[in-house]
């Protein structure tokens, strides 16, 4: 008898062998017989993933080696991108809420009849302000374009916004006013070219790990400065960290501009030639001497002077920001204050420079250009007759079908639901009942709706659980289309799996509903995602986002993604990495960028004796995506982050409350409370607490205040208290 079994069926299960397709060794039982590349459907980095196919189905994923964005790397979400498709709780049939309040399966024809009857009745009885839709940055451009066209041109809706309001509205508003168009100017190669990199409110290592990889690939030994109230993973990895007081970023930026002006470190030649508003800016920042800025931000005057000198001394300085800036009550002015620093020092249009907003969702950029929500197609204006005529001519529709007024923003849509004006809402691929700020208010508003339609991959999202009608959608990996990433790169997705049951691509849902509504004729040309892409290319012509030179999906595949713009008649093979403004010409009519300034304003909810702590929220791990609708489906991703909500506290705040790491406590605001485990850490300053955004209860605490220019919610400031939970609450 053998005593030891070195081989056998269990051992063989883990055997690896060369996988072919340039993959190196793969598990033998998962060896692919075909490989398909598609860009990732989580964040805006836009990595390309190779899906391994075997016996008709997707079996594995590896990051694409030759794609310019990620060069063979991916974060855990990318590696695990197939898991959400195989989840057992996929919506596999339309669902209708019966009289007893339970969702019952119905057929597509019945679902579309319900949809049409209910929305039509509301429109007829209460007018166009009684219905709205909420779109998303998570579906392909072609689908969101069809949704925007169908709802606004076909169904007669005026109001539709997207969840991109929660992530990129501030940047869009800032760029539009400063540059004349919502145009992130950079390409990822700029990470590798800079000698000074300033990251404001951006935890790149966690939120965009593959962009951090690009910084690590920088061969110029760059100074990396992180401006963030918390000592984040990125702050640890940086060469300098400025732990500013929460919401003192606008003052800090003006303080830096003050020093640049005072020290004569302004690139006057660039400023005089390519910008306007310098005199106003100089006068404005006069009022922000280091002493004042230091008092507000908590950064010493010496550190301020050092940072100004660093920005001045850098040959190629790039400025980057993410949600720390965007999700603020004064985010637009803060983003513009960062843009101003780049313009003042001439750090734009050259390799390694730029005022660069890092996008959130995989297709937020597609939404900003082509969702037909806030802007008319191609960054046009609903209130402009000329723009409406343009679009009508290209699409071959009656210009009278195009609404003449802009849509309500997301917050206004929720307000209208709360006050009874809005009665019907159609939510597509977003989870408002988790992600929207101040949940008690949002849920109160949703409960007043007569009709709520949720179109999603799962009928189990917090929002779908409130729906009257659920439409089951195919997900990433089950459909065709394109995303536009942070650096304006258009990338391709394609079907590698079959949607389960009766779930179909959102594109097909919209076409089905168009027919049911009786406006299908308007969309005869919108037959396939690729045809829509060509329509969008035509709509973009002559606009800053002109992609008239992209002939079709094949060209995108061959080029490894294509950055906009690419007007017709330009190179057939575009350069892999392209940035904007190398000629110093911006998109305003006079070609000049605007130096925009405004006065800092107090936060909407300052701390008080009763609620003495500032609540910061944000992304906490690379394995959790937003409301975890998808990432929670992967057991591997779940294992990478705590299942239960937690709150990070400073040691002094914790010991004042007799709390130690691991205790269960209660975090309370004026609006609600949540249970959370305490994590005591010096990485957060006294007087602040941090709670990850991924837990359903977090937005019970947040305070619904908004940037006045972008209407983006200010998720990163609210007043809370933390105390041990009583036994009942535990």
């Amino acid at each position: 008898m053998r005593l030891r079994h070195r081989d056998g069926p269990l051992t063989r299960e883990l055997v690896r062998e060369p996988g072919g397709f340039g993959l190196g060794q793969v598990p033998s039982r998962l060896k692919p017989d075909a490989v398909a590349s598609l860009v990732c459907g989580f964040c805006s980095t836009g990595c390309s993933l190779d899906v391994h196919l075997r016996d008709d189905g997707p079996v594995n994923i590896t990051p694409s080696v030759r794609y310019p964005v990620n060069q063979g790397q991916a974060c855990p979400k990318g590696w695990e991108a197939l898991a959400p498709l195989a989840a057992s709780d996929r919506a596999v049939t339309p669902l209708w809420r019966d009289r007893r309040g339970r969702l019952q399966p119905i057929s597509w024809p019945v679902a579309s009849v319900h949809f049409v009857e209910r929305f039509r009745a509301l429109l007829d009885r209460h007018g166009p302000d009684s219905v709205a839709f909420l779109s998303t940055g998570q579906i392909p451009t072609e689908e969101m374009a069809l949704l925007g066209a169908l709802a606004k041109f076909g169904m007669g809706m005026v109001h539709g916004d997207g969840n991109t309001r929660q992530c990129m509205a501030t940047t869009a508003a800032a760029y539009k006013e400063s540059f004349g168009f919502d145009a992130p100017p950079y390409t990822y190669a700029d990470f590798e070219e800079s000698d000074v990199i300033v990251l404001v409110g951006s935890n790149l290592c966690i939120a965009h790990p593959i962009m951090w990889e690009r910084i690590r690939a920088n061969r110029h030994d760059p100074e990396v400065v992180v401006v963030d109230p918390r000592k984040t993973e990125t702050a640890m990895a940086a060469t300098r960290h400025l732990a500013i007081h929460p919401k003192s970023d606008l003052t800090l930026m003006y303080g830096l501009a003050h020093l640049l002006v005072r020290n004569g470190w302004v690139d006057r030649e660039f400023v005089d030639t390519y910008t306007s508003g310098f005199e106003e800016l100089a006068a404005h920042v006069e009022a922000f001497p280091p002493e004042r800025v230091s008092a507000v931000s908590g950064i010493s005057t010496a550190d301020l002077e050092d940072l100004a000198a660093l920005i001045h001394g850098g040959e190629r300085v790039s400025f980057w920001w993410t949600m720390g800036v965007n999700q603020s009550h004064e985010g637009t002015r803060t983003a513009q204050a960062i843009i101003n620093l780049a313009l003042l020092t001439g750090n734009i249009g050259r390799p390694g420079t730029g005022a660069n907003s890092i996008t959130g969702q995989c297709n937020a950029m597609g939404s900003r250009l082509f969702s037909n929500t806030t802007n008319l197609f191609g960054g046009r204006d609903f209130s402009s007759g000329a723009d409406r005529n343009d679009v009508a001519a290209i699409l071959g529709i009656d210009a009278g079908r195009i609404p003449t007024r802009p849509s309500w923003s997301y917050d206004r849509i929720i307000d209208a639901a709360a006050d009874g004006t809005l009665r019907g809402l159609w939510v597509v691929a977003t989870n408002s009942a988790h992600s929207w700020i101040d949940q008690s208010r949002l849920r109160e508003a949703m409960s007043r709706l007569d009709f709520l339609v949720v179109q999603d991959m799962y009928a189990t999202t917090e929002t779908a659980e409130l729906a009257d009608l659920v439409l089951p959608a195919a997900g990433w990996g089950e459909k065709d289309g394109t995303f536009i990433n942070s650096e304006r790169r258009i990338g391709r997705i394609r079907p590698v799996a079959r949607p389960p049951g009766a779930a179909i691509p959102d594109f097909d849902i919209f076409r089905l509903l168009a027919d049911a509504w009786g406006c299908g004729d308007l969309f005869r040309a919108w037959t396939t995602p690729e045809e829509v892409f060509r329509l969008l290319a035509r709509l973009s012509q002559g606009r800053p986002c002109d992609i008239g030179g992209i002939t079709g999906y094949d060209m995108i595949d061959r080029a490894g993604g294509i950055q906009w713009p690419l007007p017709a008649g330009t190179d057939a093979v575009p350069a892999e990495e392209r940035r904007l403004f190398s000629d110093g010409r911006f998109f305003h009519r006079d070609g000049r960028a605007r130096l925009v300034v405004g006065d800092p304003t107090p936060v909407a909810e300052p701390v008080s004796a009763e609620f003495p702590l500032v609540l910061l929220t944000g992304r906490a791990s690379s394995s959790q995506w937003h409301t975890q609708t998808r990432t929670a489906k992967s057991a591997v991703l779940r294992a990478m982050s705590p299942a239960d909500p937690y709150v990070e506290m400073a040691p002094a705040d914790a010991s004042a409350r007799s709390l130690v790491t691991g205790d269960t406590t209660l975090v309370r605001s004026r609006r609600g409370s949540m249970r959370a485990r305490v994590v005591v850490t010096p990485t957060i300053r006294e007087g602040q607490v941090f709670v990850p955004m991924h837990y359903g209860a977090t937005n019970r605490l947040t305070h619904a205040s908004f940037d006045p220019h972008s209407r983006q919610p200010a998720y990163k400031s609210a007043a809370v208290q933390v105390g041990p939970a009583t036994r009942r609450e535990r």
Binding site: L3, H5, G8, L10, T11, R16, F21, G22, G24, Q25, P27, A34, V35, S37, L53, D56, G57, N60, I61, V65, Q73, A74, C75, P76, E80, C205, I206, P209, W212, E213, R216, K231, E233, A235, M236, K479, D480, R494, P495, V496, R498, F507, D508, R511, T528, P529, D557, S622, A635, A639, M640, V660, T661, G662, D663, R677, V678, T681, P682, T683
Partner: protein, 539 residues
């Protein structure tokens, strides 16, 4: 590709017919990006620098090397390992921990990626009862033999880094093999390939130097002291020093696994040995006559049989349970099994002898009894060592020995008391009932010391345990102490009181003794369950 051509025309069975938009997609096979076998392996150019060019020579072995400055906590290594090794849903062979250190003025946040440390003296290998681990003599890679494993899970407790993990679908443990096949082919292991920051690489280390480093203290930041097993992973980086400064805060971890069959097995084996030893002492004192010795030994045997049955439920692959004696030379688990098997056999023999009233030569019966008793005691001692050698803070040898020993006294005497009350009347059970009450009170008091304030030794772990007991595990703690006090102290004393006098109340006493036995076993089970759930790897 029939997948794509098999997609049905959407809505074709319904009234509303929509032509599929995925039209282009249906022929996507033609659009698949072109791949050729001559394309570089993932990151082929880059990873050449991250694996050694030569295989380890004598006195050397492979080791992971981690640049802590480059690790930024993205955890791609965990996912890459999972996917490139085809692991089961949710199975991970690598983990990334997060250390919060430093002061408010100088906070330190460090993510630490770790997998198997391919130790110089692997505790998994030492403890494995079936020799399912081997350390490759050339590469030093500690490999797990999946087909040899019986799924006893002892290695998941004995490894101070909690690396081996149980895979329930197959009923075995699996762990990192450093992608040895990839290394042989000149390819980087999955985690090395998957790290965007090139924080993980493979090094060839000098075993002697590794041993010296391990003996000097903390090789693995935030994890167990390295002198236990000699982990070979080399952690480098500028913050190495800062990580060891300052007392680590208690871990925020929740309860660990409670291993129900194991808890049942432990309580019942201790009951069996306790009952046998106490019964033997009674027999010796009482002259070995009457029905009591046979009943007592029979009880012990029955409990032992139940324990054996429970232990089989614990195994992932019970049909290979017989392999568990292979590791006798080094595994306390093998020794426990052998000793307990010996005890059971001898106890059966002894019970048969006393029950059948065989006339053996003088002293033989008693000697047989003592032989069985000593192998029973040896088995319990082996049980103690199984846990004590894991070096977990809550499993110090004294703690475990007193717990297991007192469990034997409490449950064993409760069982004998019950038998005595039922068979010969309450009067004869009085000394046993007093013994139950005394041992139970002593044991409960000892366990309650975890809640006492300010004992410096093991402080962090004790705070963690106290928090778990007071918060997460509260219901079980209430059961353990409430039931323990009631059935271990109150009921036995009540039975003693009832059995006083010339006309003891037989039926109530029998009920009380039954309640005491059932309650004691249940309360000890609750204690053992807390024993497992509150344990955490050594720090």
């Amino acid at each position: 590709m029939s997948l794509l051509s098999a997609v049905p025309a959407i809505g074709e069975t319904e009234e509303v017919v929509v032509t599929p938009s995925a039209g282009g997609a249906l022929t996507a096979v033609e659009q698949f990006a072109e791949y050729h076998d001559h394309v570089l392996a993932p990151g082929g150019r880059r990873y050449r620098d991250l694996i050694p060019t030569e295989r380890p020579g004598p006195g050397h072995q492979y080791a992971f090397e981690v640049d802590l400055d480059a690790c930024t906590g993205c955890k791609a290594c965990v996912a890459a390992c999972h996917s490139l090794n085809g692991l089961e849903d949710g199975e991970t062979w690598r983990s990334v921990s997060l250390l919060h250190r430093g002061t408010a003025a100088e906070p330190v946040l460090q993510t630490v990626t770790a997998s198997c440390h391919h130790c110089l003296d692997p505790a998994c290998l030492r403890g494995c009862p079936v020799d399912a681990y081997e350390k490759d003599p050339l590469t030093g890679i500690v490999r797990h033999l999946d087909d040899q494993c019986i799924g006893c899970r002892y290695c998941t407790l004995s490894c101070p880094y909690e690396v081996p993990a149980y895979e329930p679908r197959r009923g075995i443990v699996r762990k990192c093999d450093m992608c040895h096949g990839r290394l042989e082919a000149g390819e980087a292991p999955a985690c090395v390939q998957g790290c965007p920051n090139e924080a993980i690489s493979i090094a060839v280390v000098d075993v002697a130097a590794s041993r010296a480093a391990a003996e000097s203290g903390m090789s693995v930041p935030g994890a167990a002291p390295s002198f236990i097993t000699g982990p070979t992973t080399v952690y480098v980086g500028s913050r190495r020093e800062a990580l060891t400064r300052g007392a680590p805060s208690p871990e925020p971890t929740g309860p660990a696994h409670d291993h129900p069959p194991l808890a049942v097995m432990l309580v019942l084996t201790q009951l069996a040995v306790g009952a046998f030893v106490i019964g033997l002492i009674r027999a010796v004192i009482g002259g070995g006559s009457g029905p009591a010795p046979a009943v007592d030994a029979g009880l012990a045997v029955a409990s032992g049989a139940l324990a054996l049955a429970a232990s089989v439920f614990h195994l992932g692959r019970p049909r290979y349970a017989h392999r568990a004696v292979i590791g006798l030379r080094h595994s306390w688990l093998s020794r426990e099994i052998v000793a307990f098997g010996g005890f059971t056999g001898l106890a059966v023999l002894y019970a048969a002898v006393v029950a059948s009233r065989l006339r053996l030569p003088a002293g033989w019966t008693e000697t047989l009894g003592w032989l069985a008793a000593s192998s029973g005691a040896t088995a319990v001692a082996c049980s103690v060592m199984i846990y004590a050698t894991t070096r977990r803070a809550s499993w110090r040898v004294g703690t475990v020995a007193s717990r297991f020993g007192l469990s034997g006294v409490v449950c064993g005497s409760a069982a004998l008391a019950w038998a005595a009350v039922v068979t010969t009347g309450p009067g004869s059970a009085r000394p046993l009932l007093v013994l139950v009450a005394a041992a139970a009170a002593l044991k409960l008091a000892g366990e309650a010391t975890v809640f006492l304030p300010g004992r410096p030794a093991d402080h962090a772990d004790r705070v963690r345990r106290a928090r778990l007991l007071k918060q997460d595990l509260r219901p079980r703690v209430v059961t353990r102490f409430g039931l323990g006090a009631l059935s271990g102290v109150v009921l036995p004393l009540a039975a003693v009181w009832l059995s006083a006098g010339a006309h003891p109340a037989a039926l109530p006493a029998a009920l009380l003794a039954s309640g005491a036995l059932g309650g004691c076993v249940a309360a000890e089970y609750a204690e053992r369950s807390l024993f497992f759930t509150t344990a955490s790897a050594p720090r």
